[in-house]
Structures are given as structure tokens and as C-alpha cells.
Point group: C2
Chain length 282, copies 2
Amino acid sequence: MSQAQLMDGTALARRIVEDTAKRAADLKDRTGAAPCLATVLVGEDPASVTYVRMKQNRCRKAGIESRHVALPAATTTAELVGTLRALSEDPTVHGILLQHPVGPHIDERAAFEAIDPRKDVDGVTLSSYSAMSFGLPGFVSCTPGGIMRLLDEYDVDPAGRRAVVVGRSAILGKPVGMLLLGRDATVTYCHSRTKDLSSLVREADIVVAAVGRPRLIRGEDVKPGAVVIDAGYNPGNVGDVDFDTAVTRAGLITPVPGGVGPMTIAVLLEQTVAAAERRPGV
Amino acid sequence: MSQAQLMDGTALARRIVEDTAKRAADLKDRTGAAPCLATVLVGEDPASVTYVRMKQNRCRKAGIESRHVALPAATTTAELVGTLRALSEDPTVHGILLQHPVGPHIDERAAFEAIDPRKDVDGVTLSSYSAMSFGLPGFVSCTPGGIMRLLDEYDVDPAGRRAVVVGRSAILGKPVGMLLLGRDATVTYCHSRTKDLSSLVREADIVVAAVGRPRLIRGEDVKPGAVVIDAGYNPGNVGDVDFDTAVTRAGLITPVPGGVGPMTIAVLLEQTVAAAERRPGV
């Protein structure tokens, strides 16, 4: 039985981060200041604490300063908006990351919109979404951006191909569909209300699973030779794709872990340095 | 041979405009000022002149004041942006319509973005697009909004149905797909690079043709009983759908003219009154 080629996100992410680190060092040489990413965390959810710490560690290794703002779980929307606006106006901060999900008592959209689009290196603002939708300058959402980089790395041209995006979240499903559409794929958005997901997946040249349901995409539904991108995160290092069966039919497939995951942080770091490079006076 | 039921946009638009006229009159009674739509036209393209005049006439009949700004063809992007910003700040103007396309020497996106989203009654700004994409408060693009109203009028619930949108323009194809996705349809975007459009149309419960190619959608490809929305405008009152053959297979179909067209202006007028109702101090 044939085996798909693995799309090695770990290796590609490492190369992107190496390049990013050089740019960060160069910027510090030229301006005296390293790029700075502000991370904002509301509450102490253990998974979120871990994610933020991981991002800070990666920043440090790449020569990017990180400034952490820890807010209590009881923080109001107005307080969070105030914090994000202050960071948006702080000239020593170049990128802003609000770790999400925030608590249910907070208006997450209002919080995201308090981030200056020029510092929106996580690609969560409506401005960034619009830019992705219409091919305008701006930052991309990190996971969608990472997925597009993986496709490019493995010479997958989406033009004229059927792409099926499973999931329609604001920072993953919707924007990755728009990026694929911008590259001339024929894009179908599937979701929890979709009937007969299997038959849609069977027609797809490119499948992006981004829904957070373990092994939702069955290998038997993967079109032989298709490109399978698993952006799902589920407990136990399980993706949204049933990898063991999909790998026997796909042409290219991302492993979990080591596929999309490392790309997300690589894009975050790269965009932070880009934001610092573009700031006034540089 | 069975015949599809016609979706009568003329009749529905008339009812919407009647209701809008009542709201406009009520607003004038309460505040002393009628709602006001500013129309901006660059150059003297005969089709554009006709469209603007038609919109002005419809405004007058609905009790909406219109203020026309005619700019010479040689107007620069900066000048147009200046005009639109001034209208955005003018408290006596409630809605702004920039007739488009503007000339190729103008940055249309920059012009659209000079319109205050609170006055974007034509639904052309990135802010309005984002609102449509995420179900946030805001104005809709008029043709997509009119299409959704037609679907509601004929009790078409998009949830769980396959919708195929042919076309991906910024103010028609992309937003109507997002509105359908927001109503839980499984949405596929097709366009000039799509291979085998016929087979995709054959699977569609709802087809929205929005590309401007005469009779691109062949009746033989329409799934029996499907809902066929023709948002195409081509010379000689020809839509993007081959009506004569499609009508024998569809369950519901919009005629051209008299389908989507009248809805577009009705939504424009309705949103203008809504903008006036929401202005500060009312």
C-alpha cells in the first residue's frame, strides 16, 4: 500500500524561525531595540498558560522580546479593551497577541478590535480578515498563513483545484477558505450542519480539517493523491483526520503533531518581526 | 413539463419600499428632516448616470432626500477620498453611495474605505463585509441582502443545503456566500478557474449566479427542484442563467428582469432609512 509524503511542518517552521531570528538580530543592530511581542492572558487556564509560555520561549530563542500582561479572570471587557488599546499605542510594542478563548463574560470581538491592525500579528482583527479575503496588505491569521506556507513548500498550487474546508471559525476555517479562494481554488465550506460530508471530502483535491473533532475525516473518504491538511487539535495528539487510514490514500498529509502546529508559531514570530520592521522610523 | 415558481422581486421590493417610505415619513415627522442619501458619481459614463438617476428617483418616491455629488472624470483618489470623508462627517447626510466602478486611475478600495461604516448603506466597506462574514451588526451589500430577503420571502431555509455561488466579487459573490454560510448552508465558491462547473451546479440546492456571463448556467445542469438566483446583469436583459431551460427544472427561480434587480435598490433605500433612524439624537 502506498504511503503519502509527510508535510514536515517542524522542518519548515525551523527554517522560517531561523530566518526570522536573523531579521530580528539585524533590526536590533540597526535600531538598538529588539522586536517586541506583547502577550495578554486573562485568567489562569492551564492550557492557555502553557501556550503563552511556549510562545514566549520561542520568542526568546528567536531574539524577540516578549512582554507579558497577566490579567485576573474577573477582568471586564472594558478593562481588557483598555489594556489592548494601551499596548496598541505603546511604540515599544510591535505585535500583540491576546491568548484566546477569553472567558465567556468577555466580548472577544470587542477585545480583538482593540488591537491596532498594524500590530495584529496573530491575524484576529476584522481588518486582517478583510485583507485575507481580498488579497490586501495585512497580517494573516497564523494557522491559515502556516497552511498556505506548507502548500507552497510542497509545490501545491491550489488554482483550479477543489478545496474542502471543514470548519468555519473566524480565525481558522473562514480565513483559510478565503486564502485558498484568493489562490483560485474552488472552495467549499463544510461544518456541523453539512449533510454528507463524506461525499464532499471524496471530491476534494485539498482537504483542510479545522473543526476540533477527533478523526472526523475518515481515510476511506480521502481522494487518492489528495493533499490532507490537519489543523485539528484534540487531546492525546489526535487530529481531525484519521491519520493511519488517510496516509494510505493521500498524496501529501500533515502529521499531528509536527504538521500545522509548528507553522502557527513560526508565522506569529515572522509577523512580529515584520511589524517591527515596518514601524515608523525604521 | 413542470415550471418553476417565479421569485417575484418586483412585488417584494415594492412592499419593502412602501414600508421604508412609511418609516421615512415617520422620521421626518419626528425630527423635521427626511433621511438623506448622498450619491457620488465620478465621470459621465452613460450607464452609471442612468443608474444614479434611477436611485435618486426611487429615493424621491420613498420620501428620501438625495444629494448628488458629480465629480469630473479626472478626479484623483485623494480628491474622491476627501469628498467621501466630508460626506461621512456631514450630519445631514445619513447614507453614502459611491457609484462604481470608478475609473481605473482611482483606488476604489481606498475610496470605499473613506465611507463611514455607519453610513455605508451600499455595504461596500471592509467593515460591512466583515459584519456579513461574522453575523455582526452592520449594513449588508445590497444585492446579497436582497437575495437573502428573497430566500426568506419564499421560505427557503439554507441550513444544511448545498449552495453554489458562481462569482467571487467583493460586493456580490463573496458576501452572499458568507451570508449563506451564516445561515448554515454548505457553500461552494465557483469562478473562472473552476473546473467542471456543471457538475458542481448539478449538486446545488441553491445556485447563485453572480458573474456577468450571459447564460453561463445551463438549465440541464440545474438540479430538479433547486432554487436558482440569477444576479447577473448582461446586455439585453439576459441573466447569467439560461432561464428558458432552467425554469423547466428549478423549483424556484428569479426572472431577469424583475428578480434580484429590484431588490438591490429596495435594500439600499431601506438601509438609508435605517441609518437615519440610528443617527445620534433621533
